[in-house]
């Protein structure tokens, strides 16, 4: 048996040995159950257990838990250990709580009380135990409980360094779990920032992480940290590794602190102050220089630590995206790594280069490494590295190298790992379309793509091929020719049949004069595939046949025979049967002129964003070739064209549905008839569905407020009494920067005196694919009815965009739950008996009448849902207080479902006139 440190708990060691000696899983289980029974008995019977024994048993439980068993007792004993005056007992108590009880709410108050006692201890090692516990399991309640104690420990001059370190990260945990419960006094800001300068490197290391999180929430308040971070960084990178003693890691001075500082700086734009900026540039220069120095040690730890700092510096350089010399140097450095023998470095270099490829300063420099990257694609043994190489080729692609890169990717695709094929297919499809100079080339690539990776060609990809062909009259006969040729292959992928079938149906006439592809040959060829295809494909082919009836009247009888055939006319597949029947009838009753009108060729599709980009973004939200704007891409189909093959109507529908899912179904898409002007100056007005979705916010504290192709706006709110803290997130969905971005949230009319809106200014630009955050508060001064309005405007591609929509702050956001017993409830209910205080409405149910759903909605609305108050258990009662700055308005409700009639009766009473009416209005269409 190995030695236990300090020979602390013999019984525990014996138990662990026993477990390890068990020959089978069953034996182990028996031994564990025996031990659990023993511990349970000890805890139950032996009231005189001393601290040591409790500690030992709690430790055994912990061990059993770590073996993967559930532990449902011993919690009380563990919590008891917290109040022991023995350090080791306390420590085990805290460990148990941190490992096992992290989400349980039982005994939370007891734990908090114990932590509070320890925080007030004179003994720093006790304080640290308490802080570590909070850092491990801190939650909202702890954030509220320690909102003063812990910050004080952090900034007090009396606190020892070790406690400061723990306090900083403890605050970070609380900040992350419940930012709004933790109210940091703004007077502390400067002192917190100054921890960056602390002479103890450990304190600085811990503090940067806290500051980083605080900066993300409130960049302006903390912007003083930029200066300090730059100077601290500069002191580290310019000094010798011997200056930092134990903080030097394998000859690299303080790598953890360096990396954290470099990340902190990525929260801000490049410093405005020229002296700070040049100092920062010097730092970055120095880090790049050091990468060229010979290694000081052969150990991988040395190079890893050095390169960790280097990669983070490169991240910062990319983030600033303004110093072309640094960007090009970074690119050259990464280029060297591409040839390094360490797989890790090659992987990371490829990843970082993707970002560099997106910068106009370094795009060309990245392209120099094209051959190396292509080589990586061929020779790397690790699939994840090859994946990175694909990403990079995609990112570095432009008009000048597209043909080569697409060819290389196609070659690789034949042997590529199955896991990345679908994504590669998408990328190849996008690149070959974006950079097609000659659309014949595009079609060649696409048909080859279907040939070599047909299974991985998603619907979007082949729809797209068809859209391109339909929209470009110059390639239609070529398309028909190669589609026909592709069909001649003996084993032809079903996706190929679909594409070829569709194209021949539209443009087969363009090659019909060629004796090798006369109408009857086309038809026979296509029909030779018919029986091998799935019903959906057969439906498409039937439409093609119908189009042939119009294009090639001479083979009409062949086609009618097919349609009449039992396998179609009486197909068990309803869709096939219907098409066969209808097409047959159509071919019989219509004269050629009518047929020609019905079966006219497809009109061009309207321009819109490529569904392939949408699809790729779903798969991977990152890379996109530089300089490609969505407006260059040809269009996906829309619904409602007459005369298209029925199947395509469906596919078109399908595409649109996908698109709308992408938009969360929240808003009008930009291709509705009223606004087909395509991104021209457009004011997006909310449709009724937006209002409805805005009403969803009644029951939620976060939601998507607005979304279109350019921008997504998310909202989060948290109310404390009469103030709601709002966080708005503006996500730029495009590949261009949004500029002149401004927002205005305002109250009109009466509302002006009822709400005080106080939003922080928002950054005037949003980078491509980046998010900008705006925070602010709204105070409720008096009860209100109307909604504030939100106006947003920005320039996208130099075109002004405006969005106006109501801002969904309803009165219920200021409700606080009120719990009370039955007596109290009815006492209050009776006190509010004036007619103006009550509002009652009977309304039909809009949703299935499920008890739990109602309860949840009422709970989410903000007031309490009191159980056992109403004699009828089906009914709901509850209460809440609406906080305004001037008064608190009590409100009570009763909701009575009538399942037979499928109706509800809602009665609300409120202490202020008119409020009950407003609340009923909000709720009467929500159940």
């Amino acid at each position: 048996m190995p030695t236990m440190r300090g020979d602390a708990m013999r019984g525990l060691a014996v138990f662990i040995s026993d477990i390890r000696n068990c020959k089978s899983r069953e034996a182990e289980l028996r031994r564990i159950n025996k031990e659990l029974t023993n511990i349970r008995q000890r805890f139950r019977a032996d009231k005189t257990l001393d601290g040591y024994q409790k500690k030992k048993y709690v430790c055994k439980l912990l061990f059993i838990f770590l073996l993967g068993h559930d532990i449902d007792f011993g919690y009380m004993e563990a919590v008891n250990l917290l109040s022991s005056n023995k350090y080791t007992e306390k420590q085990i108590g805290y460990l148990f709580i941190s490992v096992i009880m992290n989400s349980s709410t039982e005994m939370k108050q007891l734990i908090i009380q114990n932590i509070r006692n320890d925080l007030q201890s004179r003994n720093p090692i006790f304080i640290n135990l308490a802080l570590q516990c909070v850092a491990n399991i801190g939650d909202r309640e702890m954030a509220v409980a320690f909102t003063n104690d812990i910050p004080r420990l952090l900034i007090s001059g009396d606190t020892i360094d070790a406690v400061k370190q723990s306090a900083a990260l403890c605050l970070l945990r609380l900040h992350r779990t419940s930012p709004d419960s933790l109210q940091l006094n703004t007077e502390w800001t400067a002192r917190i920032i100054h921890l960056l300068n602390d002479q103890h490197l450990g304190v600085a290391t811990a503090a940067v992480s806290l500051i980083d999180a605080l900066v993300k929430r409130n960049p302006d308040e903390y912007k003083g940290c930029v200066n300090l971070a730059v100077s601290r960084l500069s002191r580290i990178v310019t000094s010798s590794y011997t200056d930092f003693q134990d903080y030097t890691y394998y000859f690299v001075p303080a790598p953890w602190l360096c990396v954290k500082l470099l990340r902190l700086l990525q929260n801000y734009p490049p410093p405005d102050d020229p002296s700070i900026r040049s100092r920062l540039n010097e730092c970055l220069d120095t880090i790049l220089n050091k990468a060229q120095e010979p290694l000081k040690s052969k150990k991988v730890q040395h190079s890893n630590a050095r390169n960790a700092v280097l990669f983070e510096a490169i991240n910062l350089i990319i983030h600033m995206d303004c110093e072309s010399s640094l960007l090009v140097r970074a690119c050259n450095q990464l280029g060297q790594f591409l040839q390094n023998r360490e797989t890790n470095l090659r992987y990371l270099a490829l990843e970082s280069m993707c970002l560099l490829a997106a910068s106009e300063f370094s795009h060309e420099a990245v392209k120099k490494h094209q051959d190396t990257v292509i080589n990586a694609l061929k020779s790397e043994r690790d699939v994840s590295v090859r994946q990175r190489a694909v990403d990079l080729l995609y990112a570095m692609c432009d008009r000048s190298n597209a043909q080569d890169l697409v060819q290389e990717m196609l070659t690789y695709l034949e042997t590529a790992d199955y896991t990345i094929r679908e994504e590669m297919v998408l990328k190849i499809a996008i690149l070959s379309e974006k950079y097609a100079v000659d659309y014949k080339w595009y079609l060649d690539v696409m048909l080859k793509l279907i040939r070599i990776a047909g299974d991985f060609v998603s619907e979007e990809v082949w729809y797209r091929v068809i859209q391109v062909v339909v929209n470009r009259t110059d390639v239609q006969s070529y398309a028909a020719k190669i589609a026909f040729e592709a069909l001649q292959a003996p084993a032809c992928h079903e996706n190929m049949v679909k594409v070829a079938g569709y194209i021949l149906g539209e443009y087969g006439n363009l090659i019909a004069l060629d004796p090798r592809s006369t109408p009857i040959i086309q038809f026979d060829l296509l029909h030779s595939k018919y029986h091998l295809c799935s019903p959906t494909t057969r439906c498409l082919i039937l439409s093609t046949y119908m189009k042939f009836v119009n294009l090639f009247p001479e083979i009409k009888h062949h086609i009618q025979d097919i349609l009449r055939h039992d396998s179609n006319h009486r197909s068990s597949d309803v869709e096939i049967q219907q098409r066969a029947t209808e097409y047959l009838k159509l071919s019989e009753v219509c004269n050629p002129t009518v047929l020609a009108t019905i079966l006219e060729i497809m009109p061009p599709y309207p321009e819109k964003q490529s569904p392939l980009l949408v699809r790729l973004k779903q798969k991977k939200p990152l890379t996109e070739p530089e300089g490609v704007t969505e407006s260059q891409s040809p269009p996906p189909p829309t619904t409602g064209h007459n005369g298209d093959g029925p199947k395509l109507t469906e596919t078109a529908l399908h595409l649109n549905q996908q698109h709308q899912q992408q938009q969360n179904g929240l808003l009008l898409s930009l291709d509705t008839p009223e606004s087909n002007g395509y991104y021209e100056e457009s004011t997006s007005k909310p449709s009724s569905s937006t209002l409805q979705s805005a009403k969803k916010f009644l029951f939620k504290n976060s939601d998507i407020l607005f979304e279109n192709d350019l921008i997504q706006i998310g909202i989060k709110g948290e109310t404390i009494k009469s103030t709601i803290h709002i966080e708005l997130y503006y996500g730029n969905k495009t590949t261009l920067q949004l500029t002149n971005f401004s927002t205005n949230i305002f109250a009109l009319g009466e509302l002006e005196s009822e709400l005080r809106i106080n939003m922080e200014p928002v950054k005037s630009t949003i980078d491509p694919r980046a998010q900008s955050k705006q925070t602010g508060t709204i105070d409720c001064l008096a009860d209100f009815r109307d909604l504030p309005m939100m106006n947003i405007s920005f320039l996208y591609n130099n075109m002004l965009q405006k969005i106006d929509c109501p801002f969904p702050i309803y009165i219920n956001k200021f409700i606080e739950k009120a719990e009370m017993d039955s007596n109290n409830f009815f006492l209050r209910w009776r006190n509010l008996e004036k007619p103006s205080q009550e509002c009652q409405k009977i309304f039909p149910a809009k949703f299935p009448m499920i008890h739990e759903d109602c309860r949840q909605k009422l709970d989410d609305f903000g007031w309490s849902c009191l159980m056992g108050i109403d004699v009828n258990a089906e009914n709901f009662c509850g209460a809440g207080i609406i906080h305004t700055t001037s008064q608190a308005i009590g409100c009570l409700y009763r909701l009575e479902p009538n399942k037979q009639a499928n109706m509800y009766r809602l009665t609300i009473r409120a202490s202020k006139d008119g409020v009950a009416n407003r609340l009923v209005e909000l709720l009467d269409d929500q159940f």
Binding site: R5, Y87, R173, Q301, L348, D382
Partner: protein, 159 residues
């Protein structure tokens, strides 16, 4: 920010787990199971990084034990590797050439070392000396408290 750290053996047995975000026991077990399988299936020459859901996983094998950290997208992979290494160094120094058994039998110490080195998912103290001093101080207290207990027992004539 570190999301969690797992230590598991080549046979896939979990030896230590440290979670820095709140998770239910069920999801912990699921994540552990999936991740162990993913890491064990990797071949030796592959990179130490793994894209996993929306996290990045950084792992390294020391003798029979895998050390595996999940970090967020913007975290630094190479530094995470060195975070693992520093933890291994701390264990090694503390136990004196650490082996898997040390961690099994002294799992609580392995946790205490974590809390001195990493807190709330962020590096707290990178100095080996400082961390080990904190742990050794704890051992001294443990020793003193044991002494007290022995002397009480001796007084009672039980030792």
């Amino acid at each position: 920010m570190l999301q969690f750290i797992l230590l598991f053996s080549r046979q896939g047995k979990l030896r230590l787990q440290k979670w820095y975000t709140t998770q239910t026991d069920k999801s912990k077990k699921k994540i552990t199971r999936e991740l162990i399988a993913a890491v064990l299936s990797r071949k030796p020459k592959m990179s130490s990084f793994l894209e996993w859901k929306d996290l990045k996983v950084v792992y390294k094998r020391y003798a029979s034990l895998y050390f595996c950290c999940a970090v967020e997208q913007d975290d630094n992979e190479l530094l995470t590797l060195e975070t693992i290494h520093r933890y291994v160094e701390l264990l090694d120094k503390y136990f004196g050439s650490v082996c898997e058994l040390d961690i099994i039998f002294n799992f609580e110490k392995a946790y205490f070392i974590f809390d001195e080195f990493i807190l709330g998912g962020e590096i707290q103290e990178t100095s080996k000396k400082s961390v080990l001093k904190a742990i050794n101080d704890q051992d001294v207290i443990q020793e003193e408290e044991l002494e007290e207990k022995r002397s009480v027992l001796e007084d009672l004539g039980l030792a």
